[in-house]
């Protein structure tokens, strides 16, 4: 399953970091963060619970870039 989220992030480097961090979360198969369109696309693994995974994703993103916002 794929889903796109609106995000708010200030720099391209931070977006790249968020992407790295998101990819490492369990239940995420792949993720891309686009600084230009301010969007995050997450591919969930089979059977992963979206809301639980996204909670972890947001946590991880906040950790690498304290200023970022992910709109669930």
């Amino acid at each position: 399953m794929k889903k796109t989220y609106k995000i708010e992030v200030d720099c391209a480097n931070c977006a790249a970091k968020m992407e790295e961090a998101t990819k490492k979360i369990e239940g995420v198969d792949n993720a891309t963060v686009s600084f230009m369109t301010q969007k995050m696309k997450v591919e969930f693994a089979e059977g992963a619970e979206e809301s639980a995974v996204m909670e972890q994703v947001v946590k991880a993103c906040k950790k690498v870039e304290s200023d970022c916002e992910v709109y669930l």
Partner: protein, 622 residues
């Protein structure tokens, strides 16, 4: 300007004024430090906070960290003005960058401003304004002059001119009337249209295009990935380099028994940190690609990812389909040649009648050329002979219409035409009557497109076609294409492409351009699939990497020019930024660059790189 940006701007102004005031005040000693702390903290508190949070979270090496260390270090060494100024300029650079990026983003979205906000749905004779998402297939919607067509559908009532510019870059409006298909995203210029929808909003052309453009920056170019990887190693490397500059020379000095010169080397190390910020690259390269994709979409060229834009500039082999790509795919009667004694009109009439039951493009062209109504009762006993033609009873005569093989089977000797085209021979009651020549028409922009592509570095333009050798060679000659493979079956096309793929050099790409019909196997096999004339053809939009909304071959050349320009900007930025940075780093390490130069090397380079990147967006329509 967003709220966040305005806040930063106010902080910049306040801090700059404070800094000047403090500089003018005749104070010295501890009071001076405290006074300088005010502008410094006003402008830099968030950077310091982010740097601290970064360290806590184990994300040490980022721009904030570089800035924090450099300015705190400068403060500690008594360089108060420099410390505050570095922070000030850094924030100005960041503000400018976020403003420029926001602006480009808006420009691009404005170019793609095709999303309809509402639909006028007809319910029980009354018109309601609803969200396009809520309109079901088969509903009737009204589109008034000046409104966008919200969903794909078929016109049930009314005539209008539609502006397709936002979708195709084409400035000439398209006329539609009852029974015509319309696609969403066009703007109705004059009449009122009643449209029966054929697709849901999500499946409509406009949604698909928007989705594609928005997702295009997700497919990153090799160059972008390179920069991200580069930044990951570069920043830590620079930090350790700075550490080495700060400690090694003084230690060596101590060992040699000289003055260690601690403060001098530490300042040089701090300067190094300021110079080395990787933002110029990290921001300007995705921005260039984004701009290039935006500029292309304004011209009706949809690129599905930065990587494809990058590949297009390195395309050395362009394989083209003939019919529908280089030629219009619409057959026209070019010559009517009755054998001695016959009349042209009579020959055409008999052929058109005999072929009247068929929907083949050739039959259509005959009917179009005849241009009069066909009395269906006059045609009886129609027998289609596959690969040969048609036999029928027309006006009580036994008529055979078809190629020379059909004539030979009837033991007749067909004439041999001088001109090139598809030959349609006609026989009546066993007597040869003459032939009609039908040709596909070459698109007016095809020739210049081929020349332009060759000028843009395409080594070979190869034309593949299922058409006869004679016709294919004639078209190729007129267009200036030297490589032609004719009389190919669909499977042969894939084989030809495989052969070209096997023969290409390293770092060279093979692109295929087709009209999207029957091309899917080839489109997916080549490095870069380009589909043209995609208005309304979902299959093409799905299969291709680059989609040309209209069927103008000139757009292939234009796409290539945009891609070359974008890549040129990317290269300029990489070379320029790295050159200035490494230059300043080298000079900084030996003490020729002070903090002020370092600020330029960081912020100045970034501003220039971003400005250069915004050029990618500007591409004249045409």
């Amino acid at each position: 300007m967003t709220k966040k940006q305005r806040k930063v701007l106010i902080r910049i102004i306040i801090s700059a004024i404070l800094l000047i005031i403090v500089k003018l005040l005749p104070v010295k000693g501890p009071v001076e430090i405290v006074l300088y702390m005010i502008p410094y903290l006003v402008i830099g508190y968030d950077i310091l906070k982010k740097a601290a949070l970064g360290i806590i979270h184990g994300q040490v090496f980022d721009e904030c960290f570089l800035m924090a260390v450099a300015t705190v270090g400068a403060m500690a060494l008594g360089e108060y003005v420099e410390a505050a100024a570095v922070m000030l300029f850094y924030q100005m650079g960041e503000l400018f960058q976020s403003y420029a990026v926001g602006k480009s983003r808006k420009n691009i979205t404005a170019l793609m401003d095709i999303r309809p906000d509402y639909a006028n749905l007809e319910v029980d004779g009354k018109v309601e304004t609803v969200d396009p998402d809520d309109v079901e297939v088969g509903s009737i919607i009204l589109v008034q002059p000046g409104e966008k067509v919200p969903l794909d559908g078929v016109v049930r009532e009314g005539n209008a001119s539609l502006d397709t510019g936002a979708l195709t870059g084409e400035s000439v409006p398209r006329e539609v009337k009852e029974g015509d298909e319309v696609i969403s995203g066009c703007v109705n210029l004059n009449g009122v249209l009643r449209i029966e929808t054929t697709k849901e909003f999500e499946e409509s052309t406009v949604s698909k295009i928007l989705d594609m453009v928005e997702n295009s920056s997700m497919k990153k170019a090799r160059m972008e990935n390179f920069i991200t990887r580069f930044a990951k190693y570069y920043t830590p490397a620079v930090c350790f380099g700075a550490l080495a500059i700060a400690f090694l020379p003084p230690l060596v000095n101590i060992l040699m028994g000289n003055d260690p010169l601690w403060s001098q080397w530490i300042i040089r190390a701090l300067t190094t940190l300021v110079i080395s910020c990787p933002c110029a690259l990290v921001i300007s390269i995705p921005l260039s690609f984004f701009g290039g994709i935006g500029g292309a979409s304004a011209n009706g060229i949809l690129v599905k990812g930065s990587n494809y834009l990058e590949m297009l500039s390195k395309t050395k082999y362009l394989v083209c389909d003939k019919t529908g790509t280089l030629t219009k795919g619409v057959f026209e009667v070019t010559e009517i040649c009755p054998s001695q004694g016959g009349s042209k009109d009579e020959l055409l009439k008999v052929a058109a009648y005999a072929e009247s039951y068929s929907n083949h493009p050739i039959s259509k062209s005959l009917k179009n050329a005849y241009a009069k109504d066909i009395v269906a009762e006059e045609v009886k006993d129609v027998e289609e002979i596959s690969g040969r033609g048609v036999k029928a009873n027309v006006f009580g005569k036994q008529v055979a219409v078809g190629n020379s093989k059909l004539m030979e089977e009837l033991s007749l000797v067909p004439a041999v035409p001088q001109k090139v085209g598809t030959e349609i021979h006609v026989a009546c009651d066993g007597v040869y009557q003459g032939y009609i020549l039908i040709s596909d028409v070459i698109k007016s922009t095809a020739k210049t497109a081929v020349t332009r592509l060759k000028n843009r570095g395409v080594k070979r333009v190869i034309m593949l076609t299922g058409d006869s050798k004679k016709v294919a060679d004639a078209v190729a000659k007129e267009l200036g294409i030297n490589d032609v493979r004719s009389e190919l079956l669909p499977g042969d096309k894939v084989e030809e492409v495989e052969r070209i793929l096997a023969a290409k050099g390293k770092g060279e790409y093979v692109a295929f351009v087709g009209d999207g019909i029957n091309d899917a196997p080839v489109l997916s096999r080549v490095d870069l699939g380009i589909a043209m004339g995609a208005m309304g053809s979902d299959a093409a939009i799905e299969a291709a990497d680059i989609v040309l909304m209209d069927d103008d071959p000139g757009k292939i050349a234009l796409a290539m020019e945009i891609s070359k320009k974008t890549l040129a900007i990317v290269h300029q930025n990489i070379v320029f930024s790295l050159f200035i940075k490494f230059g300043c780093l080298a000079l900084g390490a030996i003490g020729y660059v002070n903090m002020w130069w370092a600020i330029f090397a960081d912020v100045g380079v970034m501003v220039l790189a971003v400005l250069n990147a915004t050029r990618a967006l500007v591409y004249k329509r045409g």
